[in-house]
Amino acid sequence: MTKILLRDRLDDCITRWHAAGFEVIGPVSKNNISQFAAIEKADELDLGAILPGRTLKDLFFPQTEPMFRYRIGKQQIDTEEYLPPERQRIVFGARPCDASAMAIDDPLFGWDYKDSYWFRRRNETVIVTIACTAADEFCMCTSLKLAPDSTLGSDILLRPLEGNRGWLVEELSQRGSEALSRIEALLEKEAAKPLPPADVPVKFDLEACREWLQNPENFESHFWKEISMRCIGCGTCTFLCPTCHCFDFQDEGDTYTGIRRKNWDSCSFALFTMHTSGHNPRSTQSARWRQRIMHKFNYFPGKFSLNSCSGCGRCTRECPVDMGITETLQEITKLSK
């Protein structure tokens, strides 16, 4: 017997979760953009899209967040620390690629020094993922050895049933079980066969790419210049990437009082690595694109044994000049043959 969550019970689930002190968050389409937001009722959810426009990262690593308020006095500086508020959250309706991305970034935020902003939110959030039964031409999770029904990073995986009836429930973690225990009574127990996961074709050869990237001779390859010629150096691909984690600190305020904030930053920006002296180690757009690809598919896996990409395809989907990871790795696959 497997557990089934029926779609028309979703409202009751949300009510129970709310009653248990959870905030419920899901993909919401509003104002011409779909992103994760707190919801009260199931009908606010937009579960039909292939992927929300904005990523799950927003919930764990917002684009800007205050860290300290400072007040400077003659004898002392008072700092007030802002950490994320402690509260239990359930994210309902993430996609496997987005959920995987969170697990991919865990080791980065945790090596040696732990980033409390990330882990506080991670530890308090249950991710309920819905397996994909549809994909578009930009999806590429399978190329990254993930799948439309990957469980990486999820606490609960839901597999859609036929006729939009509901989902087959798979518990994946302790946190997931706890969240499920609150709605146990609302679940059906029956034998059901879920819809097959979406068919996502493999688009490039990850191993071959990694090998090519690891070869020092290819670092200065003309390929990088050719592939990035039309790159305009905006931050769309990095800011819409669920795994990109680069950030910056900015102080806002005046001489005596203000706030230090942690803001997203992007390796595509020319100023990202610029020294005060004017020297810039990555002074061309091709060097910056190379860094992005190298980081995701060579350096990061070298350190954490995970690719810093979960194959959501947003970089290609949203790129203003139709670039993206897919094309680059496809080209590298060709070069490595």
């Binding site: 927003d58 919930l59 508020p85 939110r121």
Partner: protein, 149 residues
Amino acid sequence: MSEPFEPKIVAFVCTYCTYAGADLAGTSRLKYPPNIRMVRLPCTGRISPMFILKALQKGADGVLVSGCHPGDCHFTQGNYHARRRWTVFRALLNFTGIPLERIRFSWISAAEGVKFAELISSLTEDIRKLGPFDQYKAMIHETEAPVSL
């Protein structure tokens, strides 16, 4: 409950005309409300729209930009350039919903102490009636709020 609202108004003025006009208002002992904070610049041509945005960012309820009458510019053309810039920037502010009553422009010469005093009085009164620029202040306040996610 609380003290009556006193608007904060930032004035960006040209040193050759409006600042001198304000000086004249002072030496002539003309009365005008103390709500104005004046920033003196060499010419209206130097007054970048950035200044206006910065004033709003720092919580101003109103902004006055003032300089020499056309033809009187110390640098001959600065105020003509400024005039075009204001026309465009004003339209932009209007289109994005910043009430034009809060952002004002004037020509005040060194001899117009009376005009200066009167303008400041009427401007202060107008903005007092409008009340604090709550919509903008809410946006400023949001930046100071602790984490919401």
